[in-house]
């Protein structure tokens, strides 16, 4: 008799966005005249830039001819893309990453979810609280999380590191030794960043303890402040303790096109094994490369034209973030993130829970947000707003909130 992976039955439902949708449509039904503005989900809305569109069309035309047809590509990604990444995302910032340390994929969510394949099941995993749920759920599925304690909204074997205004949104080192540590900067959901000193301290901790840092830099392109690390590999010592995840989703509007990449340095070894070689084996066995068409599109963002064009789109979203932050602050709210990030993390008024504040914003401003509690217990007392919407709608949303 075949048996299933028993860990799946332990997973609580993932009701956050479903519950938001339910409450929103109940309100919309009762108030058909209301013009709702969505600032809840972290999905982009601006079109692909012309350079990317042109490159994708050209790639489709390649596949339409015998002479330029591309069948199976390298599972690790085409060199035209990996070389552009090494040059522009790293060497241009003074970081040397070899082409064979870069693994192109169909997106950072796949890589964040699959990376556990190469790790032992008895590692102790630490995550920030609040947190992007994929880190936790993927480890729970493979059995590293223990059991779910519904009352405390926590897994028994996961180490949760509170990440709140009180500690400047930089988690403290856990009391227990953590083997695998997920860090995300710029952070989803808080929109805050780790500075060089904070990230260096984490790299030192990892090297001292033999831990591996899973560094999620999906929102890297939103960094505008000088001195904020764009990559963990800017930090000395990171090559022996870190894996970095990058995405074209927010960088270039690829949430629907699908492309990302993961950097696994060759110095990263545990139990005498090279994690670069292990990830290479995992990808060549269980993945067949990202689409040629999409990789050509991704490579176009590294041309001078493409780079300028995506910068315009990024600036559009950054401006939305500024509008939200300044508007909410003017309305008297305590606001975090937004500066180096498309996410605005807004403290709810004293004594108001995050679901309660979500409802208030929905009903009084017709603005849809995400309750912070949905990202973990320490997200309680906050809501997340995103800067990915239409610029005019963003201005109007802020005006409505100020008028509340």
């Amino acid at each position: 008799m075949a048996r299933v992976n028993e860990n799946y039955a332990k997973l609580p439902g993932s009701y956050l966005f479903a519950e938001i949708a339910r409450r929103t449509s109940a309100y919309a039904e009762a108030h058909p005249e209301a013009k709702l503005i969505k600032m809840g989900i972290g999905d982009v809305t601006r079109p692909l830039v012309p350079a990317v569109v042109e490159a994708m069309h050209a790639a489709v035309d390649d596949l339409a001819t015998s002479e330029r047809f591309h069948g199976y590509g390298p599972e690790q990604g085409y060199d035209f893309l990996r070389e552009a990444i090494a040059q522009h995302d790293f060497r241009a910032r003074g970081v040397e990453i070899a082409v064979d340390e870069i693994f192109v994929s169909d997106g950072a969510k796949s890589d964040c979810g699959n990376i556990g394949d190469i790790l032992a099941l008895d590692n102790v995993v630490a995550v920030c609280d609040p947190v992007y749920p994929v880190y936790v759920d993927s480890n729970a599925m493979s059995g590293r999380a223990g059991d779910y304690d519904a009352e405390n909204e926590r897994w028994t074997d996961i180490v949760y590191m509170p990440t709140t205004a009180e500690n400047g949104f930089c988690p403290e080192f856990p009391a227990e030794k953590a083997d695998v540590i997920y860090l995300c900067s710029p952070n989803n959901p808080t929109g805050t960043v780790l500075n060089r000193e904070q990230l260096s301290a984490w790299v030192d901790y990892a090297n001292e303890n033999g831990s591996i840092i899973m560094f999620d830099a999906a929102y890297e392109r939103f960094i505008v402040e000088e001195g904020v690390p764009h990559s963990i590999f800017e930090i000395p010592g990171a090559r022996t303790c870190a894996i970095e995840f990058r995405s074209f989703s927010k960088t270039a509007g690829f949430t629907g096109a699908r492309c990302g990449y993961t950097v696994v340095p060759k110095e990263l070894e545990r139990d005498g094994q090279s994690l670069n070689a292990m990830w290479n084996r995992r990808q060549t066995t269980k993945f067949n490369g990202a689409s040629y068409v999409i990789q050509r599109g991704a490579a176009a963002i590294y041309t001078p034209e493409g780079a300028r064009q995506i910068e315009e789109t990024l600036e559009y979203y950054r401006n939305n973030a500024r509008v939200i932050k300044e508007g909410l602050e003017a309305a008297g709210f305590e606001v975090y993130g937004a500066v180096n990030s498309p996410y605005v993390w807004c403290k709810t008024p004293e004594g108001v829970g995050s679901w309660e504040f979500f409802t208030k914003l929905l009903e009084e401003a017709n603005v849809i947000t995400t309750p912070g509690a949905g990202f973990g217990p320490h997200g309680e007392g906050y809501v997340r707003l995103t800067a990915f919407g239409d610029a005019d709608a963003t201005v109007e949303a802020v005006e409505r909130i100020r008028a509340m």
Copy 2:
């Protein structure tokens, strides 16, 4: 100290295609005048058909506009594609598959590799010998294969089912009870198919033993003979014991574009859990949907025009397969497969090993094949030839072999 998945260190190198490439380039260097014809690797060469190209261009243009932009899509695939699949791949053949039993992905290799995520680690896995290596390697990585016995070229905990001319290329039921059974029809590498009676017997076995059949139907479109099942779900009882993998790679030339799908019926339950719900949870947690552009391209093969066009390409390859089969038979070889498959499985002459015959074909006919031994011990005594090449080159290759 973080620890790695110890099973990776047990994996033998995957040297088959590397060794073929090494021997081939050594020969080419020594004989620069030789015109080598590649019939080794199972990758398509014909361009995407016009209907697919047009649909992909239109989809790229969608992403280039605010109004028709598509961000995150459903992780399970867009309904426009899932509905076309349900209608044309199943309902048109009298098989009812619900849209929410279809999970679109970036390819069958990913799905075959990842499906183990939802299964317990102590299941006994059975595979055919010879076999597509992904079934074995992905289970070895997760610890279901035990240890590798290099001398016998076998994993200690995998059940190998010889699949040879002697048993008509239909594996016998294993002596041990097998919990998870991988079947592939039309088969890679042998090119043979399971008929309705054979497949029914396997479905009955699985239902009696609570086993799950992983049915790989990636080459389904090559079936031309009446009565050969295109889907395991044509067999009564399969909905309680089978998962089916499909691919657009060979169907429509998507090896570089990347798209496939997996069918998990809602009746399939083990340990009181729905495998459909589990796979849905796996995909929504660790995958973010196939590219919108590529899904639009895939959907175009279900239009009358697209269907006619891919049929032309398929017929081009089928004709190559016929040319190879008839030519080799005329030359006195014993040949299997080829009829319902792009693969031709050719018995080596009495007493000649598969690597030896590979070398003979390389040196005397300048034709590159794949030695059967590369697919498992019972592939010894065969070579695989593929029908995915240029039609003229295929004719020439066969003439050269006949002239040997």
